[in-house]
Symmetry: C2
Subunit: 302 residues, 2 copies
Amino acid sequence: MSNVAIEPVVAFLKTLQDDICQALEAADGRAKFVEDNWQREEGGGGRTRVLTDGAVIEQGGVNFSLVSGNKLPPSATAHRPELAGRTWRACGVSLVIHPKNPFIPTSHANVRFFVAEKEGEAPVWWFGGGFDLTPFYPFDEDIKHWHQTAHGLCAPFGNDIYPAHKKWCDEYFFLKHRNETRGVGGLFFDDLNQWDFDTCFEYIKAVGRGYIDAYVPIMEKRKDTPFGEKERQFQLYRRGRYVEFNLVFDRGTLFGLQSGGRTESILMSMPPLARWEYNFQPDKDTAEGKLTNYLKPRDWLS
Amino acid sequence: MSNVAIEPVVAFLKTLQDDICQALEAADGRAKFVEDNWQREEGGGGRTRVLTDGAVIEQGGVNFSLVSGNKLPPSATAHRPELAGRTWRACGVSLVIHPKNPFIPTSHANVRFFVAEKEGEAPVWWFGGGFDLTPFYPFDEDIKHWHQTAHGLCAPFGNDIYPAHKKWCDEYFFLKHRNETRGVGGLFFDDLNQWDFDTCFEYIKAVGRGYIDAYVPIMEKRKDTPFGEKERQFQLYRRGRYVEFNLVFDRGTLFGLQSGGRTESILMSMPPLARWEYNFQPDKDTAEGKLTNYLKPRDWLS
């Protein structure tokens, strides 16, 4: 079995954050990410990078964090009592991009690593992550590109990986009270330690880098599509659903807020502007009404 | 002991909904509430009333509902196993008003009644409710008026009621991850059955009617205060905190969404427009910075 070590993961994640920010800045063409370094009292810290008011990106955040603790809290170990009392470290890159143009989807990506240690015993570790796309005005070719990129990066790890992590994504990003998915999915996985450490790490690298390949071409392709007030208002309305998912369902957000995480970095995922309207139901035949057809799981490869 | 009956409570709540809508329409001077009647498959239904794009009220909803079930779900009876399997009915009026002018606070009020019955046994029942105020640019005289109205309506029920329900309100409407209250409080109570049914019912009536006396004068007083883009943007930013509270902490919202309640009526509380900005921290000496001083419990009567 390969050596479990957090240092190479941390190094990769920092480089990934750099690469993603650089690719997004290049695609935006105007605004730059501003970095905010922060420390956490209980151990660790992070570097939060935020881009606002770009030519293409209305608001976006790409966050790196490395946090640690001397003792896992009971809430984190309820289902794994063998972890109680272990020291732990967790690191990850998490990002959400809210573009200005409603024809560019919102995107989210995350890769993370967790390890709990105890002297004289083998470390307990796992990876998690994925990326998912939330269009307002979906283009089939964009969604196919997104899923083909996901499928391609999964392929070296086995034919069962894309279908499994695609399904997990559809199930995870689901708004029960709206009976709809958050968007058109992608990849999602947690507790990944089914291969040896090196192979799991390779997969995480592929997912992190794959996000750039999956998203930037869509930004480029749609950034000059003309839009008006109707499209803008629909985008703001749909961003409300994004807020609902993140605050009601997203485990990372809720665990972060409840466990005393850094609120500003966690809620970096919130949209710059969102709206709610009572009982808004666009006609089925309109461009807005057609989005509904995309908010249920679909095979995007055939 | 007085007779426990839901019918007079339902009748009162419908009249209260009418009275509140009428008072708010009069204060708005332009827009009218639009009613939406709905049925619930499992039993009961409601009438949701929404006012949008008024002269004073940007968006507001006043909802009446009466719902019932044949069997209380385990989640509702975890702490009261004696209720398991009982038939139940619940009714209430719930409202949130989001004014356009940032100098008028957002307001919320709710009164509700719950009864669980079983043949041959005494019904188990309680009332709940309250009202609370969320200013953006607080005026001490408005907040004093709000709390004096609350204090005045509580007085006939004992000198301990206002302090107890004021404290409960401060504790309930608290955003742990922001370390601030949602606003400047008011009244909040649950599981109220400490008096006989008639007295509890009288208290609920006083709270429901008291909301109009507490809020409408503030609307009237501030509705013509000039404001600009700076105040508007701050209002939208602070509305983000309202969204955070309602989706992360509010038990009524979360229970409603999780238990298959009517989503559109539950999320009627969402603001028409809200925004988020990374790490926004107004200078302490500005009008915006001063709000922070109001977001912790304070005695408003002395």
